[in-house]
Amino acid sequence: MSEAQAEKKDLGQAILKEIVPPPEEEAPRKSFWKSISIPALAILTGLLIGAVMIAATSSTVWAAFGQSIWKGFGRAFAEIGAAYQALFTGAIGDPVRIVRALGSGDAREIRSALNPFLESLVQTTPYIFTGLAVAVGFRSGLFNIGVEGQLFIGAAAATYVGYAITGLPGFIHMPLALLAGALGGAFWAFIPGLLKAKTGGHEVINTIMMNWIAFRLTEWLLSGPMTRPGSGGMPLSPLIQKSAEIPQFFQAPIRFHLGFFIALAVAWFINWFLFKTTWGLDLRTVGTNPRAAKYAGLSTTKSIITAMIISGALAGTAGAVQILAVNRSMALGLSSGYGFDSIALALIGNNTPLGIVLASLLFGTLRNGATRMMVVSAIPIDIVDVIQAIILMFVAAPAIIRAMYHLKKPKKEEATIFLSGWGGK
């Protein structure tokens, strides 16, 4: 009887087990170089393959090859060099310019020299929220693919509160709009959470479907009830009130805003919640071993719903921060897949808040640099996306890198032997 039960595993659990590495709780600290070597090799490998892509898709390189092999190679290296230089300066900034600006002591010049770096932090911010959203789900044994949809609903709620309510002071209006965003996302995640807890309807399927509902619903909202007067039926919302804005620190075009620090604070809070409170331990126990959780007296129903609400609130906050700090009004191009990228991101970050902040910095920096690369070089946006995806694929799948470079797996057996066979002497 018990064996039959054991065999009928939950599909979701099986998927989770496949894709989520067992959380390495309290693993002994690896040396710094060891922990950095795999991401570094992954980025390097991604850039190498990307370089081949750049050369292979450039018509000028092909034309140069038509003249002679040497000209072809020369042209290829020139284009690759230009593209990657743009990627670097776009993401971090131009070192020469930064040094010169620092030397001149002109505050304005320093700010604009540092702008690429600050812009990377702007790109990082939504990733931190969505990465945390996915990680809270994973830690609780739930695969929330609906982060993107929850982000849209959260953004719509924040936008509405942002423009429709007037006459509030900023210190009330802005937090209120943020809260609306969190609640919107939470509500959108609560529905599949409830379905899972009460009926067993699978959250993977339900959150995907909720995504589509969210996309089309916001499209209707933005071209109907929430449309900007005079937009001519374009899906675009009115501008939010000044009082609802999350402040940007510097003058345009520098967009660096308070939201980045809110994200860091939230990451710290989630870390505290997951690892220092009984609530977090409840969620992690249910997520890691639902049967043992039941044995220990926990309610899986409660845990599933709580986890989905928190996850959705984080996703909704991601959308709200984008609206209140960056876009200041809502359009359909709000997110270009933050919710989906964040699944890979949470895995790279090993589902720990610190790991997610670091992974978000990587994703944000890459994305920002890629935009610059597209502008400066003649590389089509599709190829930029392909290069980005290749780099991320290698980062996200350390096993590939280990196999390619013959790196050894972290040794675990040693501990096991040391422990086996007690009572034997």
């Binding site: 018990s2 959380p23 220092k276 071993n289 043992a292 220990a296 007296g297 007690w422 009572g423």
Partner: protein, 519 residues
């Protein structure tokens, strides 16, 4: 004449573990060689090498004096080596004939299966080795003991000369085990040779011609049953003197702690799996529930601990009705539960030893204040329990999944027994553990009994039940067939009940008055 099988200097290294360390082994034609060792001693590795599943790092295998290389199970079978696995490799919806011929089909012209021809061979094998079986039965309808015979026939059908039995009695009733031993005797009488892997001393003494003991990957001794007894074998196996008999103090059972009346539990297909069960467990006594695995014991325990809903009946614990209570309410009333499947139910493997030691109580003071976990207290608690219960772990932060099975079980025992409890439900508390761990866990359970705790012990190991229990309830197909005091009751009597046969005499008294402890 050369021995039928000889292993010379077999060495197998796994990352960090020397599973087999220069093992020499000789099997003569027509003998039963028992390979005795604790879990993790390296028996299975050795047999997997012999069966072609692993390649040895060093050493050679000789069959009839000739060096051979076995690269796969197919190689092993073609050289006359066959293995009866602990978990049967049969397809339930096929008939016996189909199962036996699978992979070695006899065909008629045109590629059609020739079932009659195969069935006839099965009949021949069946009659010449006393392996009674009907070739046209579906495997799903056969009792476990008969399924095992099908496994044996499968090997004989492929002309196996060397048969390896891997813990073959684990799933059998005592009577079925005796039948298996008769079959094994008739196999060797007709010239087959058998390697019998086990950790049960009684079986070794009953059936083997020769015993080889393996400990930590090395052969540590060889003897014959007439020169050995249980104590000497256990000492060889463990490497120290083992006290096989738990000294039980006389206690007088106190008040009823848990009372179960007319309990009915249905599984998710609405089959009744616990059928009108009534039991009482008193303070200071151990009630053992004996029975072959899968007769409703799991569901009985789940019903008592609140893990499954009950269909009918009533369970009272310390005067409170817990028929509809949640697991946490039942725990808070003073119940401890050692679950049947420690890895699936009892532990969160990636979590640390310290966290697992408070799995059922971390929400309470002093392990948390409000919602904030007090890791200082949790670690102090862990350090104390690790010392008290002799849990071998590098430190309290080690993930519990990296400990050995025995130590994992000790984590559960420590967690459950360190709480102030009045009722202990222990389901297969020593499953898959080595002799040293079993000895230790039995002592701890006995100690709880002496402290006046009521204990419900569920185990398919009859020896364990008979050693520890004050009273024995036998469960068969969801029903309790009898509850008998464990004084002078014979193993055969309980064994018959386990097979569903209610003996006519009220009780048969054992010839040996002393309760025998066997491992």
């Amino acid at each position: 004449m050369a021995p039928i099988l000889e292993l010379r200097g077999i060495t197998k290294q796994f990352p960090g573990v020397l599973a087999n360390d220069h093992i020499d082994l000789v099997l003569h034609k027509g003998e039963i060689l028992a390979l005795l060792g604790e879990n993790g001693a390296g028996k299975s590795t050795l047999m997997n090498i012999l069966y072609g599943l692993y390649q040895p790092d060093e050493g050679e295998i000789l069959i009839n004096g000739e060096v051979v290389k076995i690269n796969s199970p197919t190689d092993a079978i073609s050289r006359g080596i066959g293995m009866v696995h602990q978990h049967f490799m049969l397809i339930p919806v096929f008939t016996v004939t189909e199962n036996v011929m699978l992979g070695d089909e006899s065909v008629k012209a045109g590629g059609f299966l020739d079932r009659p021809k195969a069935a006839q061979r099965i009949q021949e094998i069946s009659s010449s080795y006393k392996l009674e079986v009907n070739p046209s039965d579906y495997v799903r309808d056969l009792p476990v003991g008969v399924q095992q015979r099908v496994e044996i026939i499968k090997l004989l059908y492929r002309n196996a000369e060397i048969l390896i039995f891997d813990e073959p009695t684990a799933v059998l009733t005592p009577q079925e085990a005796d039948e298996l031993f008769n079959i094994m005797r008739s196999l060797v009488a007709q010239g087959k040779s058998i390697i019998f892997i086990t950790h049960k001393l009684r079986e070794v003494l009953a059936i083997a011609n020769r015993v080889v003991v393996i400990r930590r990957g090395k052969v540590v001794g060889e003897t014959t049953p007439d020169k050995a007894d249980k104590n000497s074998l256990a000492a060889m196996m463990v490497g120290r003197e083992v006290n096989l008999v738990v000294k039980k103090k006389e206690t007088t059972p106190g008040d009823v702690v848990c009372s179960i009346s007319n309990l009915v539990v249905a599984d998710k297909f609405q089959n009744v799996v616990v059928d009108d069960v009534s039991l009482e467990i008193r303070a200071g006594e151990i009630l053992g529930v004996a029975g072959v695995q899968g007769n409703g014991q799991t569901e009985l325990v789940e019903a008592i601990t609140g893990l499954t809903k009950i269909a009918e009946g009533k369970i009272t614990l310390l005067g409170k009705d817990i028929s509809r209570a949640t697991p946490r309410q039942i725990t808070e009333l003073g119940t401890a539960h050692v679950p049947e499947d420690r890895q699936a139910d009892g532990l969160v493997l990636p979590f640390s030893v310290a966290e697992n030691l408070v799995l059922c109580s971390y929400y309470l003071a002093p392990f948390s204040k409000g919602v904030i976990l007090q890791y200082d207290t949790i670690f102090k608690n862990a350090e104390k329990l690790i010392a008290d219960f002799d849990i071998r772990t590098p430190n309290p932060l080690t993930p519990v999944g990296s400990l050995s099975g025995g130590n994992q079980q000790k984590v559960i025992i420590a967690r459950e027994l360190s709480r102030p409890i009045q009722f202990l439900v222990a389901s297969q508390p020593t499953r898959g553990l080595d002799v040293g761990s079993i000895e230790y866990i039995h002592k701890r359970i006995e100690q709880k009994r002496e402290e006046g705790c009521a204990v419900l012990l569920v185990s398919p190991e009859l020896d364990e039940i008979m050693e520890l229990s004050d009273r024995i309830a036998v469960m068969y197909r969801g029903k309790i067939l009898a509850v008998v005091p464990n004084k002078g009751v014979s193993k055969e009597y309980i064994g018959l009940l386990m097979a569903g046969v209610v003996p006519e005499e009220p009780m048969q008294l054992s010839e040996e008055t002393e309760i025998e402890a066997t491992l």
